[in-house]
Symmetry: C2
Subunit: 364 residues, 2 copies
């Protein structure tokens, strides 16, 4: 078996230091499990801009296209806040998603038993929470044309972005979500604003058609996006898999993530279409951002990135055994009482980024 090609893009802020802990796991896999990867490391975001003058260099994109999977840290920071729009760190992330065709963004919001008190919500509301939000990632309001700012004849300026989806774009994200729902509890909630936005009327129609023609075994419900934001706060456990437009998914998945109270624990996967061999382009990254305020202090929580790597092993490399081992190690370490600052609670032991990484290795 040839080694799997993994591109590592630590990015900005705490991205670097959390990725160091993943590297330790990779080393452990080489030594103890005799598994090695063909690893390339690259730059993205502000750190890419500083070197290449662009948040995503062509060579890095080429590496990503050639890789079996990409593991990303985080991008952005105040240092690059004043850059022009198309040089900003975020453009690197949006570009790699778009160019790799990663249309399906899987964002779990799960509450670890040991961390239920980290939530601002009452324990009984979030205990055992396990939602998967499937966010469309390469279309919708983020990418629609026309877009930009123009000056009108009367001297005023006008800003424009476009929310747009074609039936085939809706179908492919719909299938990704239905397939996932099938593997879980066969319940899918499609979120739209079909009482106001025609684009999401089409969204709803296509979801209904898919259910009727290909997924009759999955129960499909619909919810308006404003109500979904409410229901996530009122009773999040009513949801299993949710599927929605790019911008809606950005907002709802962050809201759902925060319900858990432990953002530093949440991984995500972004997947493309399967090729003839059933392989899909894929990028894995933590849900949290680059947290420049705590960068370099060795206090960031590396677990979301470690769990993103475990998702990568599971979904891209078919290494379920190793993925299980890592996830169990994370649970064991939490159960043992170790906490990074972000999830610290009375009576627990506060540890640094590196000690947390070390503890996972010891557990493994």
């Amino acid at each position: 078996m040839t080694a799997k090609k993994l591109l590592i893009l630590p990015g900005d802020g705490i991205g670097q230091e959390v990725m160091v802990q993943v590297r330790r796991i990779i080393d452990w896999m080489g030594k103890k499990r005799n598994i090695s990867f063909d690893i390339t490391e690259g730059l993205i975001g502000g750190s890419a801009y500083d070197v290449h003058g662009t948040p995503l260099a062509d060579e890095t994109l080429a590496d990503a296209m050639a890789a079996d999977a990409v593991l990303l840290g985080a991008v952005g920071g105040p240092k690059w806040d004043d850059l022009p729009f198309d040089k900003k760190p975020e453009r690197g992330l949006l570009k790699i998603r778009k160019e790799m065709g990663l249309f399906a963004n899987l964002r779990p919001a799960t509450v670890f038993d040991a961390l239920v008190d980290a939530s601002t919500l009452k324990a009984d509301v979030v205990q055992g929470l396990d939602i998967m939000i499937v966010r469309e990632l390469t279309g919708g309001l983020y990418f629609g044309q026309p877009r930009g700012i123009e000056t009108l004849p009367n001297g005023e300026r006008k800003g424009v972005n476009t929310l747009t989806y074609t039936t085939s774009e809706i179908q492919r994200i719909g299938r990704a979500a239905f397939d996932l729902a099938r593997k879980r509890n066969k319940k899918l909630c499609s979120v739209d604003k079909a009482n106001v936005l025609e684009c999401t009327v089409l969204w709803r129609e296509e979801m209904i058609k898919l259910q009727q023609t290909e997924y009759q075994d999955v129960e499909l419900t619909h919810m308006y996006v404003d109500n979904a934001a409410m229901q996530l706060v009122r009773n999040p456990k009513q949801f299993d898999v949710m599927v929605t437009e790019n911008m809606f998914g950005d907002i709802l998945s962050d809201c759902a993530a925060m319900l858990t109270g432990s953002l530093g624990m949440l991984p995500s996967a972004s997947l493309g279409a399967a090729d003839a061999n059933g392989n899909r382009k894929a990028l894995y990254e933590p849900v949290h951002g680059s947290a420049p305020d705590i960068q370099g202090k060795d206090i960031a929580n590396p677990l979301a990135t470690i769990l993103s790597f475990s998702m990568c092993l599971r979904y891209s490399f078919n290494m379920d055994a190793e993925a299980d081992m890592i996830e169990n190690a994370v649970k064991a370490v939490l159960k043992g009482g170790l906490r990074t600052a972000d999830i610290m609670a009375p009576g627990k032991a506060k540890v640094s980024t590196s000690v947390m990484g070390e503890s996972i290795i010891r557990e493994l």
Copy 2:
């Protein structure tokens, strides 16, 4: 003094029955405070469609334009779910907002001390919460052109909506929000997605200009909409006044409303521009919807609509004394332990819609 013209639009679902309780307060004002209104009642939403074949008849709109204020119940329900897009109950609401030029939607999220336990969030996170979300209401993604669904040459369909704002639209909602912040704690948080959407880059630029030129006494901060959804869940009390785009405001204000756990308590105001005499067109309505599932059961909470009427007295009719009386009566009744089903808690007395209305009158 000529009587103020009030147009009452109970709408659909529980709209009818909660409005009956407002009528009792109006009667009380006539008898005990010698204040009378010039009242017209009309139809909107599904109930207007049933009679006129349209969710907002021209005569009703004319009445609204002629009124000093409009008080609305709620619109929508499954009965009208299968109507074509432009006949749906919601179109009536969107049309009246647009035609009356009600660009500033004020949505408070406040937690009454007596109801702090109704929230799914921990008491210390929401106790004393008092946020005002200023949502732009006649522009943005809800109204931008082009919009619709078209069939492409290849047979696929494509849905389109447009997010667009001009500088003057941004400035007028900005001023409304800054003015309000000035009357409160001089803190305004403008919510956008300026790292992705050019339209909101313009939004942010205009907010900054306004602050620098007209509102240097108000502290302006900016937050991305996904982070705002998170921060509302993490620590809502960090906010005072927030201002944002129509669609973002729809989502965030519902999320914020649900933080309080007592949606049935929240009023809202939608305001137009001031005319030469300083009068503004205005519409007041509860934040909750038409709740068709509990319609006609005499269990709906009438307090949000009663508090919307009190906002109307305060902002449109300059009747601060009466507005205060009503708000104090609501607080007293809650303190006395009366609760409608939606806010019922152990040890309290569960009352019907009509008993709640009666209790408010008795308290007055």
